[in-house]
Symmetry: D3
C-alpha cells in the first residue's frame, strides 16, 4: 500500500484512503454523464481523483469521510498529480482499517495533549484565573481532543488546536524563565484561552473544517471567548470588574494584534504582547514544518503558503 505522498506519475497504485471530499458532477459530453470529483487523503497528504461513469449506486455509496480501497492510475494534470480511479469499494470490517489512521493528525496523541493542558491549568497559582480557564476549557472539552486550529491556515488537522496550545505553552514557559517580568499565570491562561472558542466558531470533523458556524461568522471566536470569560466570572462569582477578568479578556481580545486582523484592541500588557508573538511564531513555524513534510523529499520548493506572504519555502540543503 502506497502513501499518497509517494505517488509517481504514470504509475498504477492500490491502497486504502479516506474520501475527504466527494462531489457528483456532469461531463459536458452528449448526453452528459455523471462522474465523481473526489479528494482522497491519508496521513501523508491528499490528491485529486476522478471516478468516471459513476453509477447511481456509486453516487450513493461514496460519500465524504468514508474509507475506501482504491486502484487507480496517477497522471499529471496542470502540473499537479491526479488519480484516475479504476476500481473502488468501501472498506470492509475484515480489512482491519481504522479511520483515524487515515487522518492527518498532530504528532502527539490527543490524550497526552489534553493531559498537558490540564496539568498546566492545575499549575496556575491564582485560583480565580485557574477556575476561569478551567470553566472555558470545560465548555469545549470533547472537541478539544480533535479540533484543528484553523480551516487551512495552520495546524489544520486532527488535534491541531490542542497541539498548537501545547507548543505555545512550552515556548511561554521558556520565555517566563528568560524574562522574569512576565507573569506565568497570565501567560498560561492567555495561551489556553486565546483560541478556546474556535471549536464553536468552526464546524469540523476528523480535523477537517467544513465551514464556519453562524455564531462564528456573526461574533467571531475572539468575542465569543471574551463573552465566555464574562460567563465564567458570573457563574464562579468572581468580580466582573476585577483586574483579573479584564486582564484575561484583554489577552484574548488583543491576540491578533491589529484591527485588520480581527483584534478590537491592541496588546497593552506585557503578557498580551508576548502572547501575540508566541502565537505568530508557533503558527508560522508549523506552516513551514507541515509544508516541508507534505512536499516530496526530492522537491526543492513547497507549494505557496498563504500565511507566509504567499511565498513558497525552499528546502535549503547546506
Amino acid at each position: 500500500m502506497t502513501l499518497i505522498k509517494e505517488f509517481v506519475t504514470q504509475e498504477e497504485f492500490i491502497g486504502f484512503y479516506l474520501l475527504k471530499e466527494v462531489e457528483v458532477k456532469l461531463t459536458n459530453s452528449t448526453p452528459p454523464k455523471h462522474y465523481l470529483d473526489i479528494v482522497l487523503s491519508d496521513s501523508s497528504g491528499e490528491i485529486s481523483a476522478k471516478l468516471w461513469d459513476a453509477s447511481e449506486l456509486d453516487r450513493e455509496t461514496f460519500v465524504p469521510m468514508g474509507l475506501v480501497k482504491v486502484r487507480g492510475m496517477v497522471q499529471t494534470y496542470r502540473e499537479r498529480l491526479q488519480m484516475k480511479i479504476m476500481q473502488m469499494r468501501p472498506v470492509k470490517e475484515e480489512d482491519g482499517i481504522k479511520l483515524t489512521d487515515f487522518v492527518r493528525s498532530a504528532p502527539i496523541r490527543a490524550v497526552d495533549l489534553i493531559h498537558t493542558i490540564r496539568s498546566t491549568i492545575v499549575s496556575i497559582t491564582d485560583s480565580e484565573i485557574r477556575s476561569i480557564v478551567s470553566y472555558c476549557v470545560d465548555k469545549v472539552e470533547e472537541k478539544l481532543t480533535h479540533y484543528p486550529a484553523a480551516k487551512t491556515h495552520h495546524h489544520a488537522y486532527f488535534g491541531g488546536l490542542a497541539y498548537h496550545m501545547v507548543r505555545m505553552l512550552e515556548l511561554g514557559e521558556f520565555l517566563c524563565q528568560q524574562r522574569s517580568f512576565l507573569n506565568p499565570d497570565l501567560l498560561k491562561a492567555g495561551i489556553i484561552l486565546h483560541d478556546i472558542a474556535k471549536p464553536e466558531e468552526m464546524v469540523a470533523q476528523l480535523g477537517i473544517v467544513s465551514e464556519y458556524s453562524t455564531p462564528g461568522k456573526l461574533l467571531g471566536h475572539i468575542s465569543m471567548a471574551s463573552n465566555w470569560i464574562t460567563e465564567a466570572a458570573i457563574r464562579l462569582e468572581i468580580d466582573l470588574d476585577s483586574p483579573k477578568v479584564m486582564g484575561l479578556q484583554h489577552l484574548v481580545l488583543s491576540h491578533h494584534n491589529l484591527g485588520e486582523w480581527g483584534s478590537p484592541v491592541q496588546p497593552q500588557t506585557a503578557e498580551a504582547v508576548a502572547l501575540h508573538h508566541i502565537d505568530a511564531l508557533d503558527a508560522k513555524l508549523q506552516m513551514v514544518e507541515d509544508a516541508l513534510n507534505t512536499t516530496p523529499e526530492n522537491e526543492d520548493w513547497t507549494p505557496m503558503i498563504r500565511g507566509l506572504e504567499n511565498k513558497a519555502v525552499y528546502r535549503l540543503r547546506v
Copy 2:
C-alpha cells in the same frame, strides 16, 4: 457679557467663563516665573488664555472646571484669538451663575432625551430584547444624562451621547417605514446599545472627556457592551445561544464596520448594515452642524474637521 464666539481681536472683554483647562507653567525668563495656561469656555466655544505672573494663591485658586469672572484683552496669536487675562476671580454665589449655563450641551434637555430613549425601549415588542436593552441602559443610567458621545470626534458635549441616540432613533424609524424588511425591534435595540458602554470607556465631567479609562483602553466600548449583553442574558435567564443574544451582540460588535475602525466582525445582518450607516450619517452631519455653529457667521470656512477626512467645511451661500 460677551460670548466667546463673539470675541474680536484687540478689544477688551469682561464676562463669566468656565476654566476648561488650567496648567501651571514657567516662563523661560530669568528667573522663570509662573503663569497659568488656560482654556476658557462657554456654551458658544472656547479660547486659549494666559494669566501671567500667577501668584501661589492664583495657582491654588484656579483649577479646572471652576467658574470665573474675567476681564481680559483679546489678541491674535498664530492666526487664532487668544486672551491675555488682566483680572480674574472665582464666581461668587451672589453672581447667580449656574455651571451648566457655561457648558456646551446638546440642544435638547437631558430629561427629554432620556424620556425618548425610555419610551423607545418600552415600544420594543419582543420582551427579551426589551429587557436586555433595559438592563444595559440601567448600568449607565446616571451617566447617560450628561456624557458626551466622544472625546473630540463628534457630539463632544454635555448630553451628546443621548442626543446622538435620539437622532439615530428618529432616522431608524424613518428607515423602518421606508424599508419593511428591517426589524424595528432589532434596529432600536442596536441604536441604543451600540455606544452604551462609552460612559465606562471614557472619564468625563460636564460633557468633557479627560481621558480613557483603563477598561476602555484594554477592552474598548465595543467588547464591553458585548460582555454586558452576556451578563444581561445570564441575569435575566435568557438563553445565551439564542438568535436574539447573538443578533444584539452582532449589532454592537460590527457597528464600526471595519477591523481597522475597531469592529472584530463586519455587519452581516440587515439591521447591522443599517446601524452602521445610520451611525455614520448622524455623526458626520453633527460634526458639520457643530463646526458651522461654532465658526463665526462671517467666516466662510470652518476649521479642519478630523472626522471628515481632515477637511474644512465651506459655508456655501447660494
Copy 3:
C-alpha cells in the same frame, strides 16, 4: 410556469424566460460540438443553462435579449443550480408574453419614478439651480426610464437608477426636516445630479449593463456630469463662476467621498457630506434587500455581496 427562484434540483420545469446571455462554445470531445452556454433570467432571478448539440439554426435563432419557452432539467453543479435544456423555442406572438415581465425591475413603475423626479425639480425654489437640474435630466430623459444604477453593484435592474434617486430624495427630505441647516434646493439637486451621467457612462438594455462606454472609461460619470453642469450654465446663461454652479459641481465631484473611490475632491459643504452618506446608506440597504429577496426563503445566508466588504448577509429570525 415556475419562477427561477423556485427551481428545485433534480426536477423538470417548463416556462418562459429571457435569454440574458448566450454564448456559442465548443465541447472538447472529438470532434468538438457546438453548445450554447446560456444565462436564463426572469423577474425573480437568473440561472445558468446549457443547450447541448446546438445546431446551426439554434446558434442563429437564440440570441441575447430574446424571450424563449424552455423545458429543462435542473441539477446541482458546483453547489449552484444549473439547467440542462431539453427543448427551447422562441416566444410567439400568440404566447401573449411581454418582454418587460421577464426583466427584473424596480418595485415602482418607471412613469411614477420619473413623475416624482420631475415634481421634485419643480419644487426647487431657486430658478437657476432648477433649470440646471432640468437641463441635465433632459439629456438622459429617455434612458432614465429604464437604466440601472450600476453594472452589478446595486440597483442593477430596469429602472434602478431612477428608483435609487427617488429613495434618496425621500431620505433627503427627512434629513432636511431633521436638520434645518441643510439647504433643500442643493440637496435635491445633488441627489438628482450625482449619478445623472451614468446612462452615458454605461451601455445598458432592459436594465442590464453590457459594458462601459468609451467616454465612461476615459472620463467617468462624475467628470461627465461636472462638464454637463458647465454646459447647462453656458446654454442657460448662468454665471459659470457663481456659487451655485460651483456648489452643484462640488456635490457631483465629491459624492464618492474619497479619491480612491473616484472623487477628485472630498465633500466640503454640508449638503455634500449629506449627499455622500445618503447615497451610501441607500445603496447598501438596497444591496441587502435585493440579496435577501433573490435568496430562497429557506436559506439563511445570501451569497457574498461585493459591496458589503464581500460578506454574505444572514437572515436573522428572532
Copy 4:
C-alpha cells in the same frame, strides 16, 4: 551685500531682502512685548528672523512682500540659522532695488517661457485642438507669466508653472521622436493643459502661494480644467462628443495617475500615460535640483523633501 544662502552663524550681515512673511507676536514676558516674526527671502533662499521690541510704527511699516534693508546677527537655533535683526528700514527709491531681483524665480525669463508656449501652440497641426488650448491659455494669460506650479511641492517660485511646462514640452518632443506612436499634437496639448487651471486654484503673489482659492478647494484644478475644455468647445463650436474633446479631457483628468492622488480616471491613452510620467519626472528632478541649489555647497545632505518620499538628497561627489 550677502545672499541668504551664504550666511554664516555668529556673524553680522547687512543687505536688502524681501519680507516674505511678517507676523506680529507677543513675548511671554511680563508685561508681554510685541515682536515681529519674519521670514526674509532673496533669490538664493530664505531665513527666519526676529525683530524684538517692535514699536507700533514697526508693526505698521513692515508688511509682507515689502523690500527692506537689514542689519542683523545670524545665529544657530535648533540646528537652523536664524537672524536677529538689529536694524531694518524699508527700501527707498534711491536704493535702486527692484522687487523682482529678490524673488526666487525660474532660470528662464517669463517672456521667453510664454514665447515658447505660444510657439508650441502654433505648431499644433490640428486646428480644433490648437484653438481649445489657446482658449484655455488665454484665460490665465497674465498669471502664467508669474505663477508658481505649486505651493511648496515643486517649482514653487516666480514663473515656476510656465517653466515646468516648457521643460515638459522639451521632454515630450524628445519622446515623440523616440516613439513614433505618440501623437505630438495631443502630447503638446496635454502638457500645456494639465496644470492650466492652477492659477485659479491657488492665490499667489510674486511666485509665492498664500492659500488655495475656494473653487480650488471645492473643485480642484483638474476638474476646473476639464470644465474649461467644455467651455472652450462650446464657445468655439467644436463637437462636445468628439474624440478630440474627450481625449483632451482625459489627458487632464488622468494626469495624477491614481485616485488617491486626485485623478478620477487613470491614464488610458498612450499620450495620457506619457503625460503622467513626463510630469512626474520633471517635477521630481526639479525638486532635487532646487534642493541642491538652495543647500550650501559645503553641506552633503539637503533638507528632507516631502515629494521624494520625505527623503533628503545626498550630494554624491565621485
Copy 5:
C-alpha cells in the same frame, strides 16, 4: 502564410509557428483521451490551440520551443480566438525556416544593442566606474544578447532587456543635456547596472521566461547586482568604501523606489531619482506600445495591462 495577429474567426489558416507552450492533457470523456493544449506564437503575437486525439507519437514529437507547420481552424472561445489544429508537423530543414523569425523580439538587432551598450561603457570617463560596469556586463554577456527584461510585465521578448537599456540610455543622455547637475557617468552606469542581474534572476529561452531561478527568489536581482558590484570592486582592487562603489550600489538598490516594490532604500542621489523615473517612463511606454502593436488594428481597446493599474489602453483616433 498568415501572421497570428491577422487570424479571423471561423476561417482556416496554414503557416509556420513556434510551439511556445505544450501541455499533454486528458479529456473527461470515457475513456479519457489525450490532447495537446498548445500556445502557438510568431513574431506578431500568440494564440491558444488544441490538438485533439494526440497520439503517443504526437506527445513525444511536439515539445515546447519547437517550430511546426500547422493547418487549423480559428474559432472564438470565451471572446478570444483559439485554433483547432487539423494538421501539424515539425519544420523540416528544406522549409528554410529560422527559429528567430518566429520569436517576438526587440525592433533593433541584438548585435546593435550590445554595440550601443559597449560604446556607452567606453564613453564613461571615470575609469573605476567604467571598469565596474564592464565587469558586471561581462558576467551576463551572452545572455544579454537575448534575455527579456521581465516575465510578462514589460519588454518580455527576445533582446528585451538590452533594448530597454538602450532606450533608457537615450533618455538619460537627453536629460543630462537638459539638466547639467546630473552626472552622466553615474547615470549611464546606473542604467546599465540596474537590471544587470535579471538574466540570473530568471530562466529564459528565446526571450521567454519560464520561471525564476532559486537565487532569483531568495536574493532578487537587486541584491544580486549589489553583490556583483562588491565582487567587481574586490577583483578590480577598487576601495569598497569609496563613494563610487556606494553610489553605484545605491543606484541599483533604490531603483524600484519603494520598499513594497522591492527597493530596500529609496533614491537619495540626483541620479538615483532620475534612474527610477527613466526606468518607469520607458517601461510604461513600452507596455503601451507593445499592447497597441499586438492588438488588431481595428480594435479600439487593448487587453488590460497589469502594469498600468490593470487598465486597457484606448487607441484614440483624432
Copy 6:
C-alpha cells in the same frame, strides 16, 4: 545622590549625571540671553534640564557626553518632569566617577556578551559558515562591545546590539530543540549576522545613536551585511554561488519580513522564517521590559511605545 528615575516634582536634588544632549539657545526676552537646553541622563533614565543665563564659559565647558555634578530643582512642565539647574560643574578626577556608570546599558557585561557570541560561533559545525560569520563579526569587533541595536526603537543603550543577539541565540537554541527541522548552524549564523552591519549604519557613542551614517542611509544595514558576506566569501575563497552563501544572504536580506519594512525579499527558508519571528519577539518584549523599568513603579501606564503600534503598556497587577 539620586537616580533620575527617583526625582520628585518641587524638590531639589544633587548628583552626578551625563550630559546626553546640550544645545545653546536664545531666550526671546529683550535682549535675548543664552541658555543651555540639556538632556541629563544616568543609568536609570533621562530628564530635560535648563541652565538659564549661560555664560560664554558655560557654553564652552558643557558639551555632550561630558559628566557633570549638578544641583537643581525639579518641576513639572507639560506633564513631564524637568530640572532647573542651579549649579553645575564638570566632574573632577577626585570625584572618582566613571563614565560608564552613567550610561544606560544592557544588564549583562559586554565582555560576557561577546564571549557568548564568540562561543556560539565556535559551536557552528560547518566550517565555511563559521568562517563567514567570524569574518563579519571581526569587521565590527570593537563596536560590538558597546553599540546599541537601534536609535530609539529597541535595545537603544550601551551593549544593546550584543545583548539582543545573545537573547535571540537563547531563543534560537530553544526552538532548535523544540523543532528538529531547523538547522542550528544556519539559525545561529542568521541571528549573529542579521544586524551585524548596524554599527556601520549608525553613528553611536556610549550606546547613544546620534545619526545614521551616509552608507547607512544610501545602502542600509541589510544590504551592507549582504555585501559583507560576498566580501567574506571572496576573501575566504568560498564559492559565491554555493547554497551556503546564498542561504546566509537570504537570512540577512529577508529578516525584516516585508518590503515596506526594508527587506527586498521575504523569508523563504525555514530558518529565515524563524529568524524574523525570533527577532520580532525579542525586540518587542525588550521594548515592554525597558518601558516598564523606566516608568516609576507607582505609575500604571508607560509612555506610548512607537514600536508597539504606538500604544502604552499597562502594568497589570493581579
